[in-house]
Symmetry: D2
Subunit: 334 residues, 4 copies
Amino acid sequence: MFNFSLMGAGRIGKMHAEIINSHPECSLKYIFDINKKFANELADKYNASVASTAEEALENNDIQVVFIASATPTHTEFIIKAAKAGKAIFCEKPIDLDINKVNQCWDEIKNLKVPIQIGFNRRFDTSHNQVQKNAHSGKIGQLEMVVITSRDPAPPSLDYLKDSGGIFRDCTIHDFDLARFILGDDPVVEVSAFGSQMVNDDIIKINDHDTTMCILKSKKGVLVHINNSRRAVYGYDQRVEVFGSKGMSISNNQTPSSVEYFNESETFSKEPILNFFIERYSQAYKDQFKDFVQSIKLNKDTNVTFKDGRNALILANAANESLNKGQNIKINYD
Amino acid sequence: MFNFSLMGAGRIGKMHAEIINSHPECSLKYIFDINKKFANELADKYNASVASTAEEALENNDIQVVFIASATPTHTEFIIKAAKAGKAIFCEKPIDLDINKVNQCWDEIKNLKVPIQIGFNRRFDTSHNQVQKNAHSGKIGQLEMVVITSRDPAPPSLDYLKDSGGIFRDCTIHDFDLARFILGDDPVVEVSAFGSQMVNDDIIKINDHDTTMCILKSKKGVLVHINNSRRAVYGYDQRVEVFGSKGMSISNNQTPSSVEYFNESETFSKEPILNFFIERYSQAYKDQFKDFVQSIKLNKDTNVTFKDGRNALILANAANESLNKGQNIKINYD
Amino acid sequence: MFNFSLMGAGRIGKMHAEIINSHPECSLKYIFDINKKFANELADKYNASVASTAEEALENNDIQVVFIASATPTHTEFIIKAAKAGKAIFCEKPIDLDINKVNQCWDEIKNLKVPIQIGFNRRFDTSHNQVQKNAHSGKIGQLEMVVITSRDPAPPSLDYLKDSGGIFRDCTIHDFDLARFILGDDPVVEVSAFGSQMVNDDIIKINDHDTTMCILKSKKGVLVHINNSRRAVYGYDQRVEVFGSKGMSISNNQTPSSVEYFNESETFSKEPILNFFIERYSQAYKDQFKDFVQSIKLNKDTNVTFKDGRNALILANAANESLNKGQNIKINYD
Amino acid sequence: MFNFSLMGAGRIGKMHAEIINSHPECSLKYIFDINKKFANELADKYNASVASTAEEALENNDIQVVFIASATPTHTEFIIKAAKAGKAIFCEKPIDLDINKVNQCWDEIKNLKVPIQIGFNRRFDTSHNQVQKNAHSGKIGQLEMVVITSRDPAPPSLDYLKDSGGIFRDCTIHDFDLARFILGDDPVVEVSAFGSQMVNDDIIKINDHDTTMCILKSKKGVLVHINNSRRAVYGYDQRVEVFGSKGMSISNNQTPSSVEYFNESETFSKEPILNFFIERYSQAYKDQFKDFVQSIKLNKDTNVTFKDGRNALILANAANESLNKGQNIKINYD
C-alpha cells in the first residue's frame, strides 16, 4: 500500500485524487493547496487530511509518494523537497517553463535516485500507444513520417494564457513528447515552427499564437509534422499518424457513441468528438497512474522520466526560437 | 461488329443507346418506339434509323442483336419474334409480370438456341460483384446469412405504380436475383414476406405496399433477409452483406465524393448517397453490356439467363403469396 | 444507502457485485450461491456475508434490495420470496423459460407492489439508447423499419445450450426487448421466424438453431428484422438501425481503439470489435444499475418492468412456434 | 468544333488524346511526337494525322488549339510558337523547370492574348474542388489551416528522377498549386521545407529527396502543411484538409469499391486506395478539359493561368532554397 500526498486540489488535482483513491494499492493521505477551501473539499471526499504547509505534505513520514498537480511555478520546489525526503514523485507537465529552473532542479535531485514520472498522459492512450507500437513492430516497416494533429476545443481565458508560457510550452509540449515517444531512440535534431493569431485578437496583445505548425527532423531523417489550434468547434481533435515503408497507422478521433445519422442533407454523420482532455484521455490518465504505481512497486525506472520532461521543454523553446528568428533551429540537449 | 436494334427510347432506352454506341464493337442501327418523337430524337443523336414497325427492327437482316428496353408487356412478344429471326437478345427486367406468359415465351424460344440475357444489372456492380465472389472464395468461409437493403430515394407516381406489378415484381425482383446470384447453385426453397403502407396513402388504394421485408431460406440453410422501401430521403440505399463462418463482407453505400464535414453539431459527415439507379449503377450497366457482348462474341452462354429472369419472378410471386396468406411459401420452380 | 443481497456468484453475478459495490449509495451485504466457494470468494472481496440459505438472503431485515443473478430456474421462486418480504428486486433476464411459471409469478406478486426491474441491459447502451430516442424525437421522422443484427462471437458449450431454452429465449430475447423498446407504445402483433443449423452439428442433436432470422410487424405497420448467429469470428456484432420518413440512424459496432491500418493489401482497417457482452456492454450494465437505483430511490416505476420481461418471452415463444409451423404467428399478450 | 494538335504521344499524351476525342465539340487532327511510332499509333487510333515537324502541328491553319503533353523542356518553345500562330493552348505542368525560361516565355506571349491553361488537374477533382469551395462558402468559417497529404504509390526510375527537377518541382508543385487554389486571393508569403532520403539509396546520388514536409504561410496568416513521399504501399495517398473557425472539411482517400471486410484479425477493412494518377484523377482530367473548352468557347480567361503555373514553380524553388539553407524563405513573385 502506497500512501500519497497530493499537491494541488484544482481541476486536474481533483481528477487525480479520484484516480489515486480508486487504485487498490494506493491511499490518499494528505492534500495541500494554497486554496484551503479546495483542499478541505477534496480531503472530506476521500477521507484524507489537509496539510497546513507544503512541507507537511511533502516530507511526512506516513507517505511514500508525492503527486504534484499544483501550479507550474511550484513544481521544481516541490520536486526538490520531496526528493530530498526520499519520496517517489509524480509531477504534472511541464516541469517548469524555465529551462534553467529545470536544470537546477535536476542538479539537486539527480543523485537522490528517487523515482519520478512526468505527466505526459497521451503516451498511455490506448490508440496513440498502439500507433507508437506499430511504428516499431514492423507493422508499418521503417518509420518515415509522423503527422500529429492536436487542437483544443476552445481557447482558455486571457488570464490563463498570460501565464501559460505560450502555446508551444503549454499545448505543443504534449505533442513534442508524443513525437519523441514515437521516435523512440532516434532524437529530434532540428525544428521549424510557424505561428499565427487567428482565434482572437487578445492573443496578439500577449505576443502569443493560437494557430501553429511545426516540422521536426530526427537524426535518422524521420520528418514529424505537428499542427495546433486553440479552437476546434467540432471537439478536441487528437490524431496521430505514423507512416513507413510498409504502411500507415492512424489513431483517429473518437466520438462519445457509435451512432450514425443519415438524412436528406448528410450521411454517415456522427456526434462532435470527445471533449475535453479529462473525458478524451480518461483511460490514459488511469493507465498512466497504474503504470507509475507498477514502476515504483517493482522498483523499475519510470516510463516517462525527468529527462523526457526536460527534452520536451527544449523542443518547445527551440520552436519559440524558430518562430522568432524565421529559421530552423538545431537542437542542443546539453 | 454487332449491329443493334433498340426497342424502346424512353429513359432507360436512352441510357442503353449511349452504352451501345460507346462500345467499340457495336453499332446502333435501328430504333423502335411507339412514341415516334422519342425514336426520332435518339436516331438523330446516334445516326441510326427509325424502324416504322417493331418487326422491321426485330427481323432486319442488317442486325444481329435486339436490345429490348420497351414497356414490360411488349417483352415476350419481342423476344419471340427476335428469337425466331435468329437474333441475339438483351431484355430488360422483368421478362413479364405474368409467369404464364414467361413460360409460354420460353416454350417458343427454348429450341431456337439464341443467346439471351436479362437485365439484372446489379450483378455487375463492382462492389456487389466483389461481395458475391467473397461469398465463395473462402474469404468469409461457409456462407450462412445474407442481408440486402434496397431502398429507392423517392416513390414513383401512382400512375407508374398501378402498372408496376407491385413492389415485389417491380423492385424486390432485383434483390431476389441478387440473392440467387450470391447463393450460386444453392436454390431458395422457402419465402416469407411482410408489407406495410407507410410512405403515402395512395398505395393502399391500389393494394400495393411501399415498405417490405422478406426472409428467404436456401436448400443448404442459408438465410437471406431483404428489406425495401419506396422512399429513403438520404439517397438510393443499396447495401449487400454476406456473413459466413470466417467473416463478413459488406458492399456499402457510395457518396458522390469523398468529402467529410466536421462542425459543432456533426462530424465525419458526408453528402447524401448516390441517387438514382442510372447514376449509382452507371458502371454496372456498362459492364453488364460488355459482358453480354463478350458472351455473344465468344458464343458462350450469357451470365444472366432467361431462367434467371423466370426464377426471380417465381420468388416475387411467392413473396406476394406469402404476404397475402400470412405463411411461408415453399418454392416450386417447375 | 441501500443494502443488497446478491443471488448468484457466477460470471454475471461477479460483474454485478462489482457494480453494486461501486455505487456510492449501495452496499453489498449478503451473497447466496449454491456453490459455496463462489459465494465465499465474492463475500471476501467485497466484505459481505455469505447467506447459508436463499431465504436468509432474500428475507433479511438488513437488506432493502435483492439482486437476482442466479440460474434461470430459480428466478421466479426468488422473486416471489423477495417480493413477499417487501424487497425491491432486480432480476436478470429471462424471468423464466416457461411462460406459465412467469404468469404464476406475476399472479403472486402483482398486488405486492414491490419495485422490480428485469435485466435488459442493452436498452441502456449509450448508442442503442440514442438510436431509440432518434426514433421518436423527429430526427428520422415517422419510424418505418428497424434492423437489428445480433451475433455472438463464439457458441457456448453444448451443456449450456441444452438448458438455454433455445436461441430465441436465450439470445434473441434481448433483441425482442430492444425491438419493443424502440417501438415504444406500438406493440408487435405478428412474428415470422426462420432458423438454421450452420455453426456446428451438435446443435441439431438438441433440436436448437444457431443461425436465425425473424420479422416482426407492429400494430402501426413498422417492420422489424432481427438476425442472429451464435458465431461471428470478428467479434460481438451488435448493430441497431432505425429507418423513417426523414432519415436513418444506426448504432454501429465498436472497436477497442480508434486505430486504423493501411498496408499493401488493406486500408482503413480496424481491430476486431469489442468482445464479449461484459466488455461491450460495460457502460450499459453500469447505467442500467444506476437507473434502477434512481427508480427505487425516487419511488418511481422501473424502466424495464416485469411485463417487459414477460412480453419479450411471449415474442420468443411465438418465434419458436412460427419456426416450427412455417407460418406467421399473431401475438396474444393475454 | 475545335480542331486540336496534340504534342506528345507518351503515357499522358495517350490519356489526353482519348479525352479530346471523347469531347463532342473537339476533334483531334494532328499528333506530333519525336517518337514516330507512338505518334503513328495514336493517329491511327483516332483517325488523325501525324505531323512531321512540331511546327506543322503548332502552326497549322486547320487547328485552333494546341495541347502540349510533350517532355517538359519542349514546353516553352511550343507555347511560344503556338501563341505566335494564334492558337489556344493547354500545357501540362510544369511550364518549365527553369524560372528564367518561364519568364522569357511569358515576355514573348503576354501581348498575344491567346488563351492558355496549365494542367493542374487536381483543382478539378470533385472532392478537392468541393473542399476548396467549403473553405470560402462559410461552411468552415474563416480559413485557418490547410493540411495536404500527397504520396505516390511507388518511386519512378532513377532515369526519370534525374531529369525530374527534384521532388518539389516534380511532385509538390501540384500541392503548391492546390494550396494556392485553396487560399484564393491570399498569397503565400513564406515557406519552410524539409527533405529526407528514406525510400532508396539512389536518391542520394542525385541529390534529390523522396520524403518531404513543407509549411507555407499566407499573407493573412493561414498556415499550410504539405507532406510528400515517393512511396505509399497502400496506394496513391491524396488528402486535403481545410480547417477554420467554424469547422473542418476533408477530401479523403478513395477505394475502387465500397466493399468492407470483417474477419478474426481485422474489421471495416477496405481495398488499397486508387492507384495511380490516371485512375485516381480520371474524373479530374476530364473535367479539367471540359472547363478549358468552355473557357475558349466563351472567350473567357482560363481557370488555371500561366501565372498559376509560374507561381507554383516559384514556391517549388523557394522550397528548394529553404531546404538547402535551413531557413524560411520569403516569397518574391516579381
